[in-house]
């Protein structure tokens, strides 16, 4: 008997049409948990570094987290994993929604797609019955439209469908995979799905999943439930509204956008619009938002209300969450929120990442203004900001004209456009567009997270430690009083000593050692969430969340019957993180790639930043190129990884590489 997990993966060869239900190795639960952890293992074992993103050998894995489908609140994430077309590193775009739980109830932990279908198809998983079906009639259809059409065609209103739109079909590097109110957006999972000619995966499941010690599990959940209620009734004082609650940012509930609109850098990560949030804007935005939102909604088994059903004017209905409300309007310098509710519907149907895409379009506008792109490139484009964004979006998803270049993201577009375009692609890390943020003083925590994390997207890295020092000692003392989530009490001391200005402020405080510990804590929590399938909004992404390092081991133990303690859990996610890093290292990622954009902060400290990175690498058990040492790998039962890296000449004499010795010289 397998507990919490189903113990089976669905393996689909798209070229032969062979479908197999494969029992998974029970030891992997102990070694990697599930979700992202076991995805990384599959990719390490099966996708060699020579494989390119659009090679048939690239795998596209859809995984449900280990605890998805159990009664644990807010555990509903689907983790898609593949080699990213944008940077050829491991991409793991994730989504909430209802798909992951349904997959578990159908009897599978993962769907693993390999090779490419000759024709456009969709996959229909109905418990044990799995079919590859023709999707030629769905070609060019919107990602949301496709979901409804498939449900109607199958006469299965309770099925859940993950689908791509035109962007995915055309292998746009920022293509997303959409499902209900959720989407896997980052790093081009949708492009790989389109390359494999899979339009959608529909799933319906009516089977049991088992809990090893269910009563005990529910006892833990009772405590967690009480804490969720407590946090919902008691928003944190002393922090901005958006950080005061739990769940992912409550963008649909809150109408006050002063902080986001004025502090992010809009357009192509360019302008901080101080003074944007006037009384007039506030009034008009609030009215527009309230008129657009029909109902606040959630993902599977989650009490929060991070999303909304949008019913706005004559725009077909759709569901919105989080940040897309802002990214398009602010990216286009359109001050009317009306624009957002219209273009986001279109963007979701096309299936594109709402972080990268508006930045790419703003980048194109900048290039036009700088004379690098010409009137000829923009022939037929309306001259107003709104019309221009719609026009650019249409070109990008169809890869028409200039859109074909832009569809690869700002990094590659700049390379191909040339003529000085490179310096306008100023907001990428590892070739991937980042949040539009440009700040003043270098922050050691963020420096490390931006530089080193495997997610390559800050929103999925930060979280449990406050983003900024509290202004007064009283506020700090108040905050640490009931800070039960800290892995160790010393973190409370770090926060107490951290001040907005003076000696104990950024960039030198928290000290490099403290910064390593804090970053490690936050990354660890994200890795746990992503293996178990929890929404980061209830674990790693917010202040004082309901789930943390002290209650996760209890939940995992009760659900799986595998007794694991805090130390064991830390080690497990450290193992998958190091395997993950080794996968990227094997694909060529090195220290030189690990840096935030040059203009991310105005005040930079090159030498100090290097020493931060040194300290962090050492703390993690990596050499000075960021490669896990043999010792680290052996300690984590990853001897086979050390051997592989040695054979490839990446890891030498167990510790340091030649490159590293050069670096130290």
């Amino acid at each position: 008997m397998r507990y919490a997990e189903t113990g089976c993966n669905l393996e689909i060869d798209l070229v032969t049409g062979n479908i197999e239900r494969i029992e998974t190795n029970p030891e992997y639960l102990e070694l990697f948990l599930g979700g992202l952890g076991t995805n990384v293992k599959e990719l390490w074992d099966r996708v060699p570094p020579e494989t390119k993103p659009f090679d048939p050998e690239n795998l596209l894995i859809f995984a449900a987290g280990l605890l998805c489908g159990t009664p644990a609140f807010s555990c509903n994430r689907t983790v898609v994993s593949t080699v990213s077309p944008q940077n050829e590193l491991l991409a793991y775009p994730m989504m909430g929604g209802f798909w992951a739980a349904e997959l578990k109830y159908a009897g599978y932990d993962k769907v693993i797609l390999r090779n490419k279908s000759p024709n456009l198809v969709y996959i229909w998983i109905n418990n044990d019955k799995v079919e590859i079906r023709d999707a030629s009639h769905l070609q060019g259809k919107g990602a949301l439209e496709t979901q409804e059409l498939i449900k109607a065609e199958l006469k299965q209103p309770n099925a859940h469908v993950a689908a791509i739109g035109l962007a995915g079909e055309n292998r746009v590097f920022t293509a997303s995979i959409e499902q209900g109110r959720s989407s896997c957006s980052r790093l081009g999972g949708g492009a790989v799905m389109g390359d494999k000619r899979v339009k959608a995966i529909a799933v319906r499941g009516t089977k049991d999943i088992y809990l090893a010690r269910g009563t005990e599990f529910m006892e833990h959940m009772k405590e967690i439930k009480n804490y969720i209620n407590f946090r919902n009734e008691n928003p944190l004082p002393g922090v901005m509204t958006i950080l005061s609650g739990i769940g992912s940012p409550q963008e649909m509930k809150h109408t006050d956008e002063k902080w986001h609109t004025e502090n992010f850098a809009w357009g192509n990560a360019r302008t901080r619009r101080k003074g944007f949030w006037t009384e007039e804007i506030e009034k008009s935005w609030t009215e527009t938002q309230l008129s657009a939102i029909k109902r606040l909604i959630s993902c599977f088994n989650c009490p929060q209300q991070c999303g909304a059903l949008i019913s706005y004017k004559d725009v077909p209905r759709y569901m919105m969450k989080c940040f897309s409300k802002l990214t398009y309007a602010m990216g286009a310098y359109v001050d009317d929120l009306d624009f957002s509710f219209k273009i986001v519907q279109k963007a979701q149907e096309y299936g594109v990442d709402a972080f990268s895409t508006p930045q790419i379009m703003a980048f194109a506008v900048e290039l036009k203004e700088a004379g690098i792109l010409t009137d000829k490139d923009f022939a037929g484009c309306p001259s107003d900001n709104q019309g221009r964004f719609h026009w650019l979006l249409d070109r990008i998803v169809r890869r028409e004209g200039i859109g074909d270049l832009l569809a690869d993201g700002t990094y590659y577009a700049a390379q191909r456009i040339g003529g000085g375009a490179e310096k306008f692609a100023h907001n990428t890390i590892k070739k991937h567009e980042q949040l539009p943020l440009k700040l003043g003083m270098m922050d050691p925590l963020y420096y490390l997270m931006y530089s080193t994390n495997e997610k390559i997207s800050i929103t999925q890295v930060e979280g449990n430690f406050p983003q900024a020092a509290f202004p007064t000692k009283e506020a700090r003392e108040e905050f640490i009083k009931d800070w039960i989530q800290v892995p160790d009490n010393r973190f409370k001391q770090y926060l107490l000593e951290w001040e907005p200005r003076g000696e104990n402020a950024n960039p030198y405080f928290p000290t490099p050692e403290m910064s390593c510990e804090i970053v490690d804590w936050m990354e660890m929590l994200h890795n746990i969430d992503d293996a178990l399938g929890f929404c980061a909004g209830m674990g790693s992404f917010c202040l004082k969340p309901p789930y943390h390092i002290h209650n996760y081991p209890k939940l995992i133990s009760a659900a799986t019957g595998m007794d694991i303690d805090e130390a064991g859990l830390r080690k497990t996610v450290r193992r998958s993180r190091n395997l993950h890093r080794a996968f990227n290292i094997r694909r060529g990622m090195r220290r030189a790639d690990e840096k935030p954009p040059d203009d991310h902060w105005k005040r930079r400290f090159p030498e100090y930043e290097e020493s931060l990175l040194d300290t962090y690498y050492e703390f993690k058990g990596w050499n000075q190129e960021g490669i896990p040492t043999k010792e680290t790998l052996l300690e984590l039962d990853l001897g086979y990884v050390a051997e592989d890296l040695e054979q490839r000449g990446i890891l030498k004499d167990g510790q340091n590489t030649e490159e590293n010795q050069n670096h130290q010289n």
């Binding site: 109830y105 009516t206 009490p303 569901m319």
Partner: protein
């Protein structure tokens, strides 16, 4: 006629507040697993959320009694421009449809209000207060059953005549004595 006190249990459903998460289905199926919480499967739940997100339809419905036969006709509601599915609000487990049946055996499921618990589990698990449990006692005339018997006897007399009914009752009484 004697009065008796009867317990009425109600779950008030504030459908407008439902965010469609299906936590109620999850916990219901887990609680009713044997042993409790040993497995989870919303398809075995005795509450289901009728869910058509784009139509703004999220309606939790509880499983009612098993019905041997279908109704003569079906209903379909349109409320505030929203068209609900056929027999949407009917709680019966009926041959006309698959809802509220065990997915493997097809046996009917029925909401038992989680007998023995303080409140039904779905109510406890719904943190948005969509499901509100209410319990009250009502005084009712203890005449329902005699009346029902009278009606039944009348029907039998009508159908078979008083003589035949005497015979049957007498025969039954003798059998009863003998055993």
């Amino acid at each position: 006629m004697a009065k008796i006190r009867k317990k009425i249990k109600t779950i008030k459903i504030k459908a407008d507040q439902c965010n469609g998460c299906r936590a109620c289905e999850v916990v219901c199926s887990a609680f009713h697993a044997s042993p409790p919480y040993s497995s989870v499967n919303p398809a075995r739940s005795r509450i289901r959320v009728i869910r058509y997100p784009l139509d703004d339809i999220w309606v939790p419905v509880f499983a009612g009694e098993y019905a041997f036969a279908e109704c003569m006709g079906r209903d379909k509601y349109v409320i505030d421009g929203k068209e609900y599915e056929e027999c949407a609000f009917c709680r019966a487990v009926c041959p006309s449809r698959d809802v509220f049946k065990e997915p493997d055996s097809g046996l009917p499921l029925r909401c038992d209000m989680c007998e023995g618990e303080d409140q039904p589990l779905c109510v406890q698990q719904c943190l948005n207060d969509v499901l509100i449990f209410e319990e009250r006692e009502e005084e009712v005339e203890e005449q329902a059953y005699p009346q029902e018997l009278e009606v039944s006897v009348d029907t039998l007399v009508d159908k078979y005549g008083l003589d035949k009914l005497y015979d049957v009752v007498a025969r039954r009484a003798m059998l009863d004595k003998a055993s």
